[in-house]
């Protein structure tokens, strides 16, 4: 053994310790990703999403616009639910599992800061969510391409050339829009926010179940944030609501994520064109939420007795 050999040991210990190391974070992220990919829930949920997308074909016994609408509704709805559930369920088990198996002790007994550990875990989850979203998008795109192709084939057989060209252009423009893929991006950002929220909760929770339930509850309440804010900041102000209710509204507006921000996907599903600035705003707010959850999670985790 080379413990007696000072060359390697000196090389290891002499290098100044970095407060944040991409190598350490990368190792944790890569390991987390591998761990998550091996979880059966991941395959099950992707498979389920695929089945749902496939089922949309059977539902669409309408005109092309109706078929397109149904496919978009079902696919975006399924992706919305699955990315969110995947984010919450996969993140919730990360910390409790490492604590139960004592792998957390061996990791944090190395020169790894708790912040690096959390960032690594979140990046691992983000990577898994990205792949999952990509897979679902691929299936979604294939389904849309199938419908588009079928409709175009029908036109070519029945219509005059000039009219057919115009109709083909209209079908193509209505099927794959930049807004549609932007909407899928919004779903991914929302899933990241859900993962950040769940990671923060798991930093102080004592059980996996508590983390899942409280995360889902916060996400549901998060859809009411605009209502709470409108009451709080309404024309009559908080003075018109009872004191305890005003406090509750304030807590909801400050601590709960505004999930309505991400409902732009609903508009996209019904064919509304959404501007690029909306997507940028959603991405920035999502990044802000994730950063805040990570910071609060770190503060909670830093004080946690292991």
């Amino acid at each position: 053994m080379s413990t007696a050999d000072p060359t390697t040991a000196d090389a290891v210990h002499a290098s100044a310790h970095k407060l944040f190391s991409f190598r350490r974070v990368g190792a944790i992220a890569g390991n987390t990703f591998r761990d998550l990919v091996r979880q059966k829930v991941f395959y099950f949920m992707v498979l389920f999403a695929v089945i749902l997308i496939g089922a949309s074909l059977a539902l669409a016994s309408l005109s092309f616009q109706g078929q397109l609408q149904t496919v978009m509704d079902v696919c975006l709805g399924a992706m919305s639910v699955f990315t969110m559930l995947l984010a919450v369920l996969s993140t919730a088990m990360l910390l409790p599992k490492d604590m139960e198996d004592r792998t957390l002790y061996t990791i944090l007994a190395k020169p790894v800061a708790r912040f690096e550990y959390l960032v690594g875990k979140l990046i691992g989850v983000a990577l898994m969510l990205f792949i999952a979203t990509l897979l679902m998008t691929a299936v979604f795109t294939a389904v849309l391409a199938y419908w588009q192709g079928r409709e175009i084939a029908g036109i070519e057989m029945n219509e005059s050339a000039q009219r057919a060209v115009a109709q083909i252009a209209a079908i193509k423009a209505g099927t794959f829009t930049p807004t549609l893929f932007g909407g899928i991006g919004v779903l991914f950002v929302r899933a990241l926010v859900c993962a950040g929220l769940t990671l923060m909760l798991s930093c102080f929770a004592t059980s996996w179940l508590f983390t899942v339930i409280s995360a889902l509850m916060m996400i549901i309440v998060g859809h009411l944030v605009p209502i709470a804010r409108s009451v709080w900041q309404g024309p009559f102000g908080a003075a018109d609501v009872p004191f305890h209710f005003a406090i509750l509204l304030r807590i909801v507006t400050v601590f709960f994520p505004d999930m309505q921000l991400f409902n732009v996907v609903d508009d996209i599903a019904v064919g509304v064109t959404v501007g690029g600035e909306i997507f940028l705003r959603v991405a920035a707010l999502g990044a802000g939420y994730v950063a805040i959850y990570l910071l609060v999670g770190y503060l909670l985790f830093a004080w946690r007795e292991l």
Partner: protein, 284 residues
Amino acid sequence: MSTPAISIENLTKEFRNPSVFDRSTVTAVRNLNLTVEAGHVYGLLGPNGSGKSTTMKIVLGLVTPTSGKTFIFGRDSSDVESREAVGFLPENPYFYKFLTGSETLAFYGKLCGLGGKMLRERSRELLALVGLEDAADRRVGGYSKGMLQRIGLAQALVQEPRLLVLDEPTAGVDPAGSRQIRDLILRLKERGITVMLCSHLLSQVQEICDRIGIMHHGELLREGALEELISIENQTELVLENATPALLAELRQRAESSGARVIGTHKPQQNLERYFLEVTGEKK
């Protein structure tokens, strides 16, 4: 004098009762002062709940002390940097089951800033050291208890630490595996690595430790060099080979005539572990 591997100064740890209705505290460690000199093998002993694991966790920065300080080679152990010099093997460790032995070492190596060729060579060396070369490409999920302890020891050594903290390193391991781990600790000691270990297996502690500390109810009751603590000052043991009954009688007579008292005579017994390893053919 060199910097001690571990210095513990006036360490106290109180755990708050988790109940909302009961805010009382439990003192796990009470005003502990302890020094482990570099190059020693130190055994921290005590019954369950005596505070030895809490002490270890505080030294490793996993638990925050209520008061007092702990240092690793002179650095405050609450600093992440101090852990550059420490390797830790927890009791009954589990590693990521989907990783192979060499992937496990690569993972822990990367956490210590190692990479590339240096890490590959280091992993190979450590797998050879702990006798897991043949299992390097097998998933850790299929490892036996003894193999898990040995890969745990290898990960603890991955960054070539100067201090090794071992919590029950031979718990649940069969006698042959236990002996391998004990021999390994002795070899590490020869190479100048400081080892602090917690164990209930007192015979093993006696074989490998230079100094021991005995904790009970969070307090250090006794501390010192093992030889000094357990030897009986006014008694001497004389072991003879091929002694005749006449010689034994003469020795007894001479001892008694000089004022000494013969307390007893008996045939020395070999260690049960050694006997077991001889029978099973695994003695080294």
